[in-house]
Symmetry: C2
Subunit: 216 residues, 2 copies
DNA sequence: GTAACATAAATTGGCGCCAATTTTGGATAC
DNA sequence: GTATCCAAAATTGGCGCCAATTTATGTTAC
């Protein structure tokens, strides 16, 4: 059992180990297939074994890591079928609420979204992988919140994490990143114009484009 | 901290403590608001404290129980907003795949479903609360599997658990149970007839009827 | 009777420890 | 060189223990 670099990552006070490990998985610091040794994670995140165990158990419940009894945990390999199925689910959900998003899009909401889209643009130019990724999440979350179903927002946020819809695989080329950025603005345009059909089309295209590239 | 009866429930070999606690929550043995004392659960399920803790942590991650630091865990109170939102999500998902269910409904699938619907009828007459509940789940799972998206089946199964869509609240009257049974058969009829619109209507009505009664 | 306080009892939270299991490295044989 | 075996080292898994915190109970004052 080998594999990971033992860099100590300073624990942020408000984020527990689960979040830290998850972040490192999603940013590619802990690539697919990596064995996550408990004693290494203790050092990496400067925490205790019970904390590591809890984090790993939680991540295994989310099927981001796999537990192999007596051997440990490793990061799941990307699964094309899963990614595809989850994209399908996201398409279903996010297009189904397009009409509610349009109905609830007030000028201040539009303004907030524009700000977040610009922030994404900015992070594309100047940000770290993580900042970029989180800017994307922030934009999409704000968009989804328009529909007024908190459980749905949480659910989508949750299932996004289940696949390699992550920075290391999501945006392979500059062109793709820039297209995503344009699509964000186009979604806002459709919202503003009250064009539900166009919004649906954009959302679906956005998700499927990302999903296709998420396959390895 | 008080509240639960200390009956020892024989642990089934293949089900871990998480499942056992979940089962007791869903069947009403551990009602909403109940404080789940670790030492009581140890005795109840004849297991060790670490196992209890893991189970409780998992259930808290699923938001079925709430963790209050230094005080313990208690079963969440039903939340009408959550139940409603989750039903909305289920309607979106399950009606979206109606066409795929219809497309994939082969005669042997129909036959299997009829068997499961009859089994539900039988459990209505003769079964325990849990058997009845599981017969319902079995029927719906088989139906959903027709769509060919395993992640979606798993997801729906998972989100159903998040609310009081459980035996103690789902079926309050005999009439309601019997209507559910009829609806199961009608869904199969719609499948067999290839009537996607009717299937959608039935699914939506079925979910919403259940959700309405799930509120307290 | 209620409110405040102190103490004992009960419970949670987390750590250390060690048995069980796996991995690694070295020695030996071919 | 490869294959096999064995012992040492490393790691996982789970238990026991106890400090920290909360709850319950009893006493005192009003």
């Amino acid at each position: 059992m080998s594999d990971i670099h033992n860099e100590t990552v300073a624990p942020a006070v408000e984020r527990d180990v689960t979040d830290l490990v998850l972040q490192d998985i999603l940013t590619g610091m802990l690539p697919a297939g990596t064995w996550l040794k408990q004693i290494d994670l203790e050092r990496r995140y400067d925490c205790t074994r019970p904390e590591v165990r809890r984090a790993l158990d939680r991540l295994s419940q989310k099927r981001l890591v796999e537990h192999v009894p007596n051997r440990g945990y490793h990061v799941y390999q990307p699964d094309g079928r899963r990614a595809q199925e989850i994209s399908d689910i996201r398409v279903i959900l996010e297009t189904a609420i397009a009409d509610q998003m349009v109905a609830n899009a007030k000028p201040d909401s539009i303004e907030t979204l524009r700000g977040l889209a610009r922030h994404f643009d900015d992070m594309t130019q100047n940000g770290t992988v993580l900042e970029h990724y989180e800017a994307n999440l922030a934009f999409h979350k704000e968009l989804l919140l328009l529909a007024g179903n908190q459980e749905l927002v949480d659910l989508i946020s949750e299932i996004r994490q289940r696949t390699s819809s992550a920075p290391v695989s999501q945006w392979r080329t500059r062109a793709r990143v820039e297209q995503s950025a344009r699509e964000h603005h186009l979604m806002i345009d459709a919202l503003e114009a009250g064009d539900t059909a166009e919004l649906r089309r954009l959302i679906e295209a956005h998700i499927r484009q990302t999903a296709r590239l998420g396959q390895r």
